[in-house]
């Protein structure tokens, strides 16, 4: 079990790392340029949720898990996503 997991982990995690960095840069670009409004706010927020899911799946290793624990991070992101979105929808 551990060996299979290790083989899965090594390469994908580096790839994920690069994606995380890229998304962060885009978020930063939006930030330093003070881009505002629904499109940009939800763009970076969507990136944030995606990054969270990647961290959960690949860094925390939840992708390898079967059953309810597989969805811990996803559920959290979903709830937080809904709550924050509903608060921001009308006010950005």
């Amino acid at each position: 079990m551990n060996e299979t997991r290790a083989r899965h982990l090594f390469r994908p995690c580096t790839w994920v790392y690069v994606v995380l960095l890229s998304l962060t840069f885009i978020t930063w670009l939006v930030g330093v340029n003070h881009f505002s409004g629904r499109f940009f706010a939800f763009l970076v927020f969507g990136f944030a949720l995606l990054k969270g899911q990647l961290i959960g799946d690949y860094f925390m290793g939840l992708k390898q898990v079967a059953g309810p624990w597989r969805w811990v991070v996803f559920t959290w992101l979903l709830l937080v996503g809904i709550l924050i979105s509903s608060a921001f929808w009308q006010t950005v």
Binding site: M1, N2, E3, T4, R5, A6, R7, L9, F10, C13, T14, Y17, L20, L21, T24, F25, T27, W28, V30, G31, V32, H34, S36, F40, A41, V44, F45, F47, A48, L49, K51, G52, I55, G56, Y58, F59, M60, G61, L62, Q64, V65, A66, G67, W69, V72, V73, W76, L79, V80, L83, I84, A87, F88, Q90, T91, V92
Partner: protein
């Protein structure tokens, strides 16, 4: 490949996952409260958000992501039974954590020298509370990683038994995960 049997449990000791869920819950509530409070004070939040340093936040986000990545490599190393590599990756991760603390500390120093505190206004109340609460989690996570690193250095883990590494790693990723939301929420979205 061997799709035979995925484990039912996440890596690390299950107790840490109960703790992680509790932490995520607290942060989640904190985030939602921030968002809904902002909706009532949009002008104030948008004004004072501009006083934050997005470059510092960028460095910190990169630091945490990199740190998390190093921790992933540390876990991979111990699964390959390489204690010393595991130790080195963890040290690298700790260095990134330290970078986070220094940058964040500089940000706090800037704000405090401007006379900002929890009572200044609602935005700063949230900014300071959220980031400081997270800051303390970085400190705690680093203490855990340090303990794990030292044990790895002593050869306390092996490919067969390294629950401790996975436990510490899971916690550290949670600290990272929370920051992924915090960064755009507090620094960017407007």
């Amino acid at each position: 490949m061997s799709e035979t049997k995925k484990p039912r449990w996440p890596p690390g000791d299950l107790v840490i996952w109960i703790f992680i869920m509790a932490e995520l819950l607290v942060f989640g509530v904190f985030f939602a409260t921030y968002a809904f409070t902002r909706a009532h004070h949009v002008a104030q939040f948008d004004t004072y958000q501009l006083t934050l340093n997005r470059n510092a936040a960028l460095i910190n986000t990169l630091a945490l992501i990199t740190s998390s990545y190093f921790v992933v490599r540390a876990v991979a190393a111990i699964r390959a039974d390489n204690s010393q590599a595991c130790f080195r990756w963890l040290l690298a991760a700790l260095a990134m954590g330290l970078l986070f603390l220094v940058v964040k500390g500089a940000e706090y120093h800037h704000h405090f020298s401007m006379g900002v505190n929890l009572g200044t206004n609602t935005f700063y109340m949230f900014y300071l509370s959220l980031t400081f609460f997270h800051f303390l989690h970085v400190v705690l996570g680093m203490i855990i990683l340090l303990a794990v690193a030292l044990k790895a250095h002593r050869g306390g883990y092996s490919a067969a038994e390294h629950t401790g590494v996975e436990t510490g790693a899971s916690y550290w990723h949670m600290v990272d995960l929370v920051w992924m939301i915090l960064f755009p929420l507090v620094y960017v979205m407007r």
